[in-house]
Amino acid sequence: MNAPIRELTYAQAIQEALATAMEADERVFIMGEDIGVYGGAFQVTGDLVHRFGEDRVMDTPISELGAAGIAVGAALAGSRPILEFQFSDFATLAMEQIVNQAAKMRFMLGGKVSVPLVMRLPSGSGTGAAAQHSQSLEAWLAHVPGLKVVQPSTPHDAKGLLLAAIDDPDPVMVFEHKLLYKMKGEVPEKAYRIPIGKAVVRREGRHVTIVATSIMVHRALEAAEVLAGEGIEAEVIDLRTLRPLDTATIIESVKKTTRLACVYEGVKTLGIGAEISALIAESEAFDYLDAPILRLGGVDSPIPYNPTLEKAAVPQTPGIIEQVRNLVKGRI
């Protein structure tokens, strides 16, 4: 008899991963602003403080650099800290600890130590939170060797990638999308891991490869569904991990479809799309390209507060449909 499908929201899936890890390993603890009694700005930690106590679900002062320093130190000392930034934008305050300390320790000490630190970062636009609370800085952080960067797009992946991140001996940044927290999806009860560094083909197609991240995976899938009605079969790859990048999956797909579109919320200029484009241009897939590479990313602007402009600042489904259609029809 099959067990009934159990659905959780993206936020619940993350909470379940946190609880699972804390139950399994007493070295695991979580820290962040208002994650205790308040349950987190997005209610991700919820009532975990009541289950695990204030020693393992720690509220921190409003000092990201201080919290990150504590987390790096705890990781070096043998703990498995999970640090929640209230908004991913605030990671900028902790750059010294993230970029100069966490990412460098293992290399500078000849592999004698590692920093098994997980950072959770609610990111992205669409909530009317304006320019300082809506950014997508994942490409910026993914530029730093020594960090691993993942972007789960489903409740299933949110749990699996977070558990893999907690297991990982190195610092992992988990960029969660704020608009996805309420999304429901099937999440198995058991503890499972989604390997870091592995992309997944969400939909198969033969005319164009759309490489998307985070919430853009869903917009790309919606676009692919509409385009399928026109006879355009788009293959949608959910990148899942930005660093290390799953180059093989992208290259193989482009060799099959001969066209590439990158859809991501981060600013287009110098973003993940540029990296993927260059990857293809440098790879054996180059000779299979039958159209220019298309990048659909955020506009070169801080995210506007005005809701109409906020939507216009990042790729939306109708634009993806139109541009991918043009790409396949040889109009660009």
Binding site: T258, F286, D287, Y288, L289, D290, A291, G330, R331, I332
Partner: protein, 404 residues
């Protein structure tokens, strides 16, 4: 940066295109997709749309100009973008009113650059690798993408066409691949017969006087150092001279059809079909109405010799308004010929035949030559063609009139 408007490759064989008409002028605001200009190729007319929004500047190719594929013909500037100095353009001279007679092969007549202005063909990496695998060059592929870019589908289109047959024996028949001359003859004469409304006029010309005069002139020919006569006039030399004289007398028939106009020529240039190994050429005797029979005779010997050796220059077989095709030496009594574009007429000349003709109620043996004039009805109507042919017959039947 302004958006370049280039002359796209719209046809597989296309190396150049003629700007038939501009629909915008310098300084016009255009939207992407708006009609910019029309181009004309050997085979088709195409409308070309704006590749972007903005203001049209630097139009470098005028209407009528022939431009290599890929060349920039205008720029579209965005609002506020400063127009730069006109880009260096290499417009080709406007089309001549005459197009070449059947061409021997592409190589010999490639007077226009075969490549785009930059000598490069925009193509996707996949199109390039497919073309390479298929053993074909990009210059023979029409790009369907923006700015004429060649994509895989364009290469597949070319590769899917049957490949040129190889020389060989298929059991029962031999396969002879086409050369450039055969291909050109096939294309041009098919075009002619399918698009030119031909009609035919036939007369019998009495050769009595022509034969007498020819005999006298050849017998009286001066001798050169080797004691050989300096001329030996053929009947064909008389025919060339007679046709040129007839055109001079009926100048309205000395024309070519040019779609938008009729070109009426001052000089009577007569093409003469010369059979060569594997095909034919039609070298042109220029201003034959002004030349003596011996001059025409000498010129024809030279042209025919070099035609057989495929040594004619394009300028020597281009132009003219009529052709003479003489199959009399094969004993052909009468035939009709296909007009050699852009000529307006062609005269099919049969053999001199002895026939009994009624003279004062009695049958008299006379030598007659049957000639059939094919006319392009767009340029030459029935009465006009009849006048031309009647004048021709008069000159043949009384060659002394050509001295007048």
């Amino acid at each position: 940066m302004p958006v370049e408007v280039i002359l796209p490759k719209v046809d597989m064989d296309m190396a150049t295109g003629k700007i038939a008409k501009w629909h915008v002028k310098e300084g016009d605001a255009v939207r992407k997709g708006a009609l910019l200009f029309e181009i004309e190729t050997d085979k088709a007319a195409m409308e070309i749309d704006a590749p972007g929004d903005g203001i049209i500047r630097n139009i470098t190719a005028a209407e009528g100009a022939v431009v290599p594929v890929g060349q920039t013909v205008a720029l579209i500037y965005q609002d506020g973008e400063a127009a730069s100095a006109p880009v260096a353009a290499e417009p080709l001279p406007p089309v001549k009113p005459i197009t070449p007679a059947p061409r021997p092969d592409a190589e010999q007549t490639a007077v226009l650059p075969a490549a785009s202005a930059s000598g490069r063909f925009p193509a996707t990496p996949l199109a390039r690798s497919l073309a390479k695998q298929g053993g074909i060059t990009l210059e023979n592929i029409a790009g369907s993408g923006p700015r004429g870019r060649i994509a895989a589908i364009d290469v597949h289109g070319v590769l899917a066409k049957p490949t040129a047959p190889q020389h060989g024996d298929e059991g029962g028949f031999e396969v002879i691949p086409l050369d450039g001359m055969r291909r050109t003859i096939a294309q041009r004469l098919t075009l002619s017969k399918q698009t030119i409304p031909h009609f035919y006029l036939t007369v019998n010309c009495d050769l009595t006087r022509l034969s007498e005069i020819r005999e006298i002139l050849n017998a009286q020919a001066p001798r050169d150092a080797q004691k050989l006569p300096v001329w030996k006039l053929s009947i064909n030399d008389f025919i060339i001279k007679a046709m040129a004289s007839a055109l001079e007398l009926v100048p309205d028939a000395n024309v070519t059809w040019a779609d938008e106009a009729i070109h009426k020529y001052h000089s009577c240039d007569v093409g003469v079909a010369v059979a060569v190994e594997g095909g034919l050429f039609t070298p042109v005797v220029r201003a034959a109405e002004t030349k003596s029979l011996s001059q025409i005779s000498e010129e024809m010997k030279d042209l025919a010799t070099r035609a057989r050796a495929r040594k004619l220059l394009p300028s020597e077989y281009q132009g003219g308004t009529t052709t003479i095709s003489n199959l009399g030496m094969y004993g052909i009594e009468q035939f009709t010929a296909i007009i050699n574009p852009p000529h307006a007429t062609i005269l099919a000349v049969g053999a001199g035949m002895e026939r009994f003709v009624p003279v004062n109620g009695l049958p008299v043996l006379r030598t007659q030559m049957t000639c059939t004039l094919a006319c392009d009805h767009r340029a030459v109507d029935g009465a006009l063609g009849a006048q031309l042919l009647a004048a021709f017959r008069n000159f043949i039947e009384e060659p002394a009139l050509m001295l007048a």
